[in-house]
Amino acid sequence: MEWLNILVQGSLLGGIYALFAIGLSMSFGIMRLVNIAHGDLIVLSAYVALVVTDSTGLDPFSSLIVVVPIMFALGYVIQRGLLNLTLSGGLLPPLLVTFGISVIIQNALLAIFGAYTQRLKGGAIETASVHIPGGISVGVYPLLVFAVAVLSIGTLQILFYRTRLGRAFRAVSDDADTAELMGIDNRNLYALALGIAMIFTAIAGVLFAIRTIFDPAAGPIRLILAFEAVIIGGLGSIWGTLVGGMVLGIAQAVGSKLDPTWQILAGHVAFLFILIVRPNGLFPRTRD
């Protein structure tokens, strides 16, 4: 029963990692872009929410009404203004430009907010818990985060396979040059893709900041966790990303059961192990 509990708690923990990973997975799937600034954009969303809640008195959940459009616009502009210029130049330009964005965000946040740790206050839901069959007690909040992750991925699934925009995304992902010949405006589409990816990044940022303290340097580890979830799940597979997050969460729960200080390390080790035995992840889709 104890191990069942670990399995459940770990899976729920994986919800937030899957949410971290959605934006990264999307920009890789469509643009083949590995966005090094992804973690910092998650943290930036949290800071935007902090400013919104402090200045308007909204609760963090409602602040998403403001945070989401801001992050969408930011994503659109970053892709249109900077990252589109790096698409044809090989591996280094996108990597370096996103690296630069990462350092700029981190240091700008440091200059504006200082190195203090912050958090968003979510209210009573943070500590509420429910009992589920099997004598296991789970937190309402992790359950909510997990549900949001599943819902987000479901929404993306519908977007990709049931809409015109989704068809264009898939076309560009499969063969960008031919898609362009067929009349698709790749540059606009890529900008929209990063904008949409940032919607999920904003949600992930706010939900994470309600439970965890954050500071300007909190981004890189979020990038690494998101990256691990994407790789474990398999490149380009959105449901794989959810499984990847859950695997990571379960590994961390097991590690933390053995010794509380091993939590993050156990996740990294599980990632390396999967990388060695299944280099393409569990459900690979997109080819590099």
């Binding site: 590995v34 090094i36 900077l82 210029l85 790096t86 130049g89 591996l91 280094l92 330009p93 996108p94 990597l95 370096l96 430009v97 690296f99 630069g100 964005i101 990462s102 350092v103 700029i104 240091n107 700008a108 440091l110 200059a111 890189p220 580890i221 990038l223 690494i224 990256f227 691990e228 790789i231 200080t261 091993w262 993050i264 390390l265 990294h268 080790v269 990632f271 390396l272 990388l275 060695i276 280099p279 590099d288």
Partner: protein, 340 residues
């Protein structure tokens, strides 16, 4: 009549070769005519240029864009602190072993990260470094999360007197930096170097012409890891204190290094040197404004990557046909046949 011939040196490179002697003499004699602050700054420049040159070899030539070189800085530093502290080994032998140890650890690491390609290789190497940092913070004999210090006894092995010690450490930094530069330079002029340059220009084409790209990359990865470990040991020998965050810092040992190389010009020997000078200049000029210099470095690196991806040095060579450190070969026409 003299036909065209292939040569390596150029007039500029000969000028550099001759002016390197007085320049080195000036740097070596610096402790006798300058102050301790300048010495520290030059020592820092020396190890940064070594780190930049090593990353350049890895990413600019072998195409291995690693974001995890801080792993080897930290490993080298921890090896040095552990061997001198817990094992009572002499500082110099420990420093040497720190380098070898880093190279050795790079073997199993490469088995994992070489499975990843491109940007995934980059983040994968970063994860490995995080694993080392977390492990170091969990191992008691390595001081756990708070880290280790070098005791005064260990420092007295270098020299009893503090000013003598500063002098020796300064000269050691210069020596290791010049040594790393020499290793990279000679490697690039060797047969391996030719293979590397071919891989840099086109991996597919060089593989089809019989270059063993995997072996070449593997060797370069190990050599850079060992040298980075040595430099890491040296850096923390001067800092005296080591913690997991400081030793495995991605910002200090990889991000600024990448910016230096890209700003100066990736895939050239001159670029890292120029990029390091830009970094030190920006940092010293903007010392009063917190981390603004890092924001500027990032913005500058983005601008250069988008507008002039071959960096400052690449921009110079496109305009003026110069090469300060001759690693390439060029066709020299006999005077009569020279164009114009």
């Amino acid at each position: 009549m003299e036909a065209e011939r292939v040569e390596r040196g150029t007039r500029a490179s000969r000028v550099v070769a001759y002016s390197a002697v007085p320049l080195l003499a000036a740097l070596v004699s610096l402790p006798w005519w300058s102050d301790a602050g300048t010495m520290r700054l030059v020592a820092e420049m020396a190890y940064y240029v070594a780190l930049a040159q090593l990353w350049n070899l890895l990413a600019g030539y072998a195409g291995l864009v690693s974001v995890g070189q801080q792993a080897y800085v930290g490993l080298g530093a921890y090896a040095l602190f552990y061997l001198t502290g817990a094992q009572n080994m002499h500082v110099y032998s420990a420093l040497l072993i720190a380098g070898l140890f880093s190279g050795l650890i790079a073997i199993p690491v490469s088995f994992a990260v070489f499975r990843l390609r491109g940007a995934y290789f980059a983040v994968g190497t970063w994860v490995v470094s995080e694993i080392f940092a977390l492990s170091a913070s969990l191992i008691n004999v390595l001081g756990g999360g708070s880290g280790l210090s070098l005791t005064p006894d260990i420092m007295r092995e270098i020299a009893i007197d503090r000013s003598d010690r500063d002098l020796i450490l300064y000269l050691l930094s210069l020596a290791i930096s010049v040594g790393v530069f020499a290793v990279v330079y000679l490697l690039l002029r060797s047969r391996q170097g030719l293979a590397l340059t071919a891989i840099r220009d086109s991996e597919a084409a060089s593989a089809s012409l019989g270059v063993n790209t995997f072996r070449t990359k593997f060797i370069i990865y190990l050599v850079t890891a060992a040298c980075t470990g040595l430099v890491g040991g040296l850096i923390f020998l001067q800092k005296l204190r080591l913690s997991p965050e400081a030793g495995f810092s991605v910002n200090d040992w990889t991000v600024v290094v990448i910016f230096m190389v890209v700003i100066g010009g990736i895939g050239t020997l001159e670029g890292p040197l120029i990029g390091m000078l830009v970094y030190i200049l920006l940092r010293e000029l903007l010392a009063d404004y917190g981390t603004i210099y890092l924001i500027l470095m990032g913005a500058l690196a983005i601008a250069i990557m988008l507008k002039a991806p071959s960096g400052i040095w690449g921009w110079v060579t496109q305009r003026y046909d110069v090469q300060l450190f001759p690693v390439g070969r060029r066709l020299a026409l006999a005077p009569a046949e020279k164009p114009q």
